[in-house]
């Protein structure tokens, strides 16, 4: 039996609703809150119930009307490897922001991004990243007077 997109989505949300509902019961309450008309747990529990009902309906509905076999999730034809690398690059950008500061992190991120998407000419890589990063840094740090922390690496090497 193949699983359709709707069934898969419904299952995901059913599990999510149950997990959410379970966690909702763990929300700490103030003493006496359980006698109030509404407390911190009320809405989450209601949402978990509604979410459970709706995803169950979708699950049942899509199972009963599973005449469309073209509805199953097709994953080939998508470039997941590239997207994975791009997202890893973003995480790397976040780390670089902390360690080497805004300017260098931006240049590295842009060059990495262009490279991943297929731009290989060194001249284009540099021209499209360096002046842009310096420009943005100038606008932020000099014109708008926003404090951009220097990377921890530099603070450690040269003192903050």
């Amino acid at each position: 039996m193949t699983i359709s997109k709707d069934q898969l989505g419904a299952l995901i949300f059913l599990v999510l609703s149950i997990a959410y509902g379970y966690n909702a019961t763990l929300i700490p309450l103030l003493p006496g809150d359980e006698f109030e008309p509404i407390n911190a747990q009320s809405l989450p529990i209601a949402l978990a119930t509604l979410g459970g009902i709706f995803s169950f309906l979708l699950l049942v509905g899509s199972t009963l009307s599973s005449k469309r076999s073209d509805d199953k999730l097709v994953l080939h034809g998508y470039d997941f490897a590239l997207v994975g690398k791009l997202l890893a690059l973003i995480v790397g950008f976040a780390l670089a922001l902390e360690w080497v500061g805004f300017l260098l992190a931006t240049v590295l991120f842009l060059i990495g991004g262009y490279w991943l998407l297929g731009e290989r000419r060194p001249k284009t890589l540099l021209i499209a990243s360096l002046p842009f990063a310096v420009g943005i840094w100038f606008v932020l740090a000099q014109l708008l007077d926003i404090y951009l922390a220097p990377g921890r690496l530099f603070s450690a090497l040269f003192g903050g």
């Binding site: 997109k5 709707d6 989505g9 995901i12 949300f13 999510l16 959410y20 929300i27 700490p28 309450l29 103030l30 809150d33 109030e36 008309p37 509404i38 407390n39 911190a40 809405l43 989450p44 949402l47 978990a48 979410g51 709706f54 995803s55 309906l57 979708l58 509905g61 999730l73 994953l75 034809g77 998508y78 470039d79 997941f80 590239l82 997207v83 791009l86 997202l87 973003i90 995480v91 976040a94 780390l95 922001l97 902390e98 931006t106 991120f109 842009l110 990495g112 991004g113 262009y114 998407l117 297929g118 731009e119 284009t124 499209a128 842009f132 943005i136 932020l140 708008l144 926003i146 922390a149």
Partner: protein, 518 residues
């Protein structure tokens, strides 16, 4: 009201605010032209910039970006048959054939004139409708608000098209669930933070909007391999004349007038935005045309181009009515603006035009300027702006990614936010692959907090009894409308079966709305 208009006028003509209109229209036109990025993404990308401005300038900028993006979307529809956003998909039906007949200039001009008329008529109606509605809604109590939020949330789900209603409901609930993360306003109890300090403040609205509508949209184009596509060839020399003959003006004038009013009304309805308006206006115009003219539709009919263009701009204006008067967004784009207003500490709703008359009126007045800017500045510049489309995708995509990430980072200066964005983007891509619509989630997230506050106030006042839902006639009326709206998707197949014989060949708005644009 005259006082208000004067306040609005003085705020709107301040040089800085005029600049914002111009900048907004340009930026919007450019972003709207890029295939895949629509008004929602354009407005989301602007939020970080508006944080540094005062509320009226910020919302004026975002409004400018909004209709700039709608206009830019139609430009790429006409020139390269690649609609920048869902609300201009219909524009391509008749606009692209015109461009192929070497009449691209005429098509662009017609689109601009129709958009201008649609937007202006919309702005005039808004001028009268908004204050009237706002004064009525001043008597609203928390029970009415709660009912209104319910209406807004269900309407978005109900209008989301065939087979999508349940999914949209689930996404709305999901949005509401995300809204509960963080500290509970009533008791101060941490909810779903899992002991993490970074989650105590909840998920930031900016982060969620950027991750789902800017990052995820761009990453989707990479996922589909669209960045490798050859840049479309555009022959600017064959634009042709931009002039319309007198006969042509006469031919389309009634169409534009009809579609503008029609589009505005659709735009006011919560949940139905520019996309649905443009599809319905095209269908309406096609049904009204004589048998001979009907054949021309889809092959470059001027009326077929004018109708959706006037309607989508009028609807964009119309969707400001529920936003400004009730605090309920009519579309995904206005939902983002609502979030931005709340971030300013302004509570959109009936009290907006009493507490912040400058914001209320200057937005309305600036719409006239925005439409003028689009007509006078953008139209002659279109050949040059569209050249920006030739920037190779491998360069453009990292830049957009950079802007969306730093936009979030520069507000919090917390790299945890960037990691969070990546996680949300992965989730959003998964949900997009499963055909779940994104806009209802954002709407649920934004309305979630206000809804819980109103519910808890109403429940406390009525001593824990849900009778408040039917004790006041107004609340009861809204609840009844909500139930009716919920029934719409059940009834609509019956209606469409009844009129099934007159079935038209163009795709319904469902596909477009799935994308969550408008």
């Amino acid at each position: 009201m005259l006082d208000g208009i004067m306040t609005g006028l003085t705020t709107a003509v301040m040089p800085f605010n005029l600049l914002m209109v111009v900048v907004g229209c340009f930026a919007g036109t450019f972003i709207g032209m890029l295939p895949g990025l629509g008004p929602i993404s354009a407005v989301a990308l602007m939020i970080p910039i508006t944080y540094g401005l005062d509320p009226s300038s910020g919302i004026i900028l975002m409004a400018g970006v909004y209709y700039g993006a709608v206009f830019g979307g139609s430009t790429s529809s006409i020139l390269i048959n690649a609609p920048g956003c869902a609300s201009t998909v219909v524009t391509a039906f008749d606009g692209y054939p015109l461009a192929q007949q070497k009449q691209a200039g005429k098509a662009l001009a017609l689109a601009a004139y129709s958009s201008f008329t649609g937007g202006t008529i919309g702005a005039i109606v808004l001028l009268f409708a908004a204050p009237a509605l706002a004064s009525v809604s001043l008597s609203f109590q928390s029970s009415d608000y709660f009912a209104l939020m319910l209406l807004g949330l269900t309407a978005v789900a109900a209008f989301s098209g065939k087979g999508q209603v349940l999914k949209a409901m689930i996404m709305t609930i999901f949005g509401l669930m995300i809204a509960t993360v963080g500290t509970d306003v009533m008791s101060g109890a941490p909810r779903f933070t899992f002991g993490s300090l970074d989650l105590i403040d909840g998920v930031s609205f900016l982060l969620l909007a950027m991750a789902t509508f800017a990052l995820a949209e761009v990453v989707m184009t990479v996922l589909k391999g669209q960045h490798k596509e050859e840049e479309p060839e555009m022959d600017m020399a064959s634009l042709g004349s931009m002039k319309l003959s007198k006969d042509e003006v006469k031919e389309i004038a009634p169409t534009v007038a009809r579609s503008s009013v029609f589009g505005f009304i659709i735009g006011v309805l919560p949940g139905a935005g520019a996309t649905i308006a443009s599809f319905l206006a095209y269908g309406l115009e096609r049904n009204l045309a004589s048998a001979k003219e009907k054949l021309k539709f889809g092959k470059g009919a001027l009326r077929g181009l004018a109708a959706p263009e006037s309607a989508n701009n009028a609807a964009s204006t119309g969707s400001f009515v529920p936003l400004l008067t009730l605090g309920i967004p009519g579309s995904g784009t206005t939902a983002i603006m609502l979030g931005a207003l709340i971030a300013y500490g302004i509570q959109p709703g009936p009290r907006l035009f009493i507490d912040n008359p400058d914001v209320f009126w200057s937005v309305i007045i600036s719409m006239y300027f925005g439409n003028l800017v689009l007509l006078i500045l953008n139209l002659p510049l279109i050949p040059y702006i569209s050249r920006l489309l030739v920037i190779p995708r491998p360069i453009l995509i990292p830049l957009i990614l950079f802007f969306s990430i730093t936009g979030v980072y520069l507000v919090s200066f917390n790299t945890f936010d960037i990691h969070m964005m990546v996680i949300i983007t992965v989730l959003a891509i998964l949900l997009k692959l499963l055909n779940f619509p994104m806009a209802p989630m954002l709407l649920g997230f934004i309305l979630g907090g206000i809804m819980e506050n109103n519910l808890s106030r109403a429940l406390t006042l009525s001593d824990g009894s849900f009778a408040f839902l039917w004790e006041r006639p107004l609340t009861l009326a809204i609840v009844v409308i909500t139930l009716l709206v919920l029934l719409v998707p059940l009834i609509s197949p019956l209606i469409s079966r009844a009129i099934g014989k007159r079935k038209t060949s163009y795709p319904g708005p469902e596909a477009a709305v799935t994308e969550g644009e408008g």
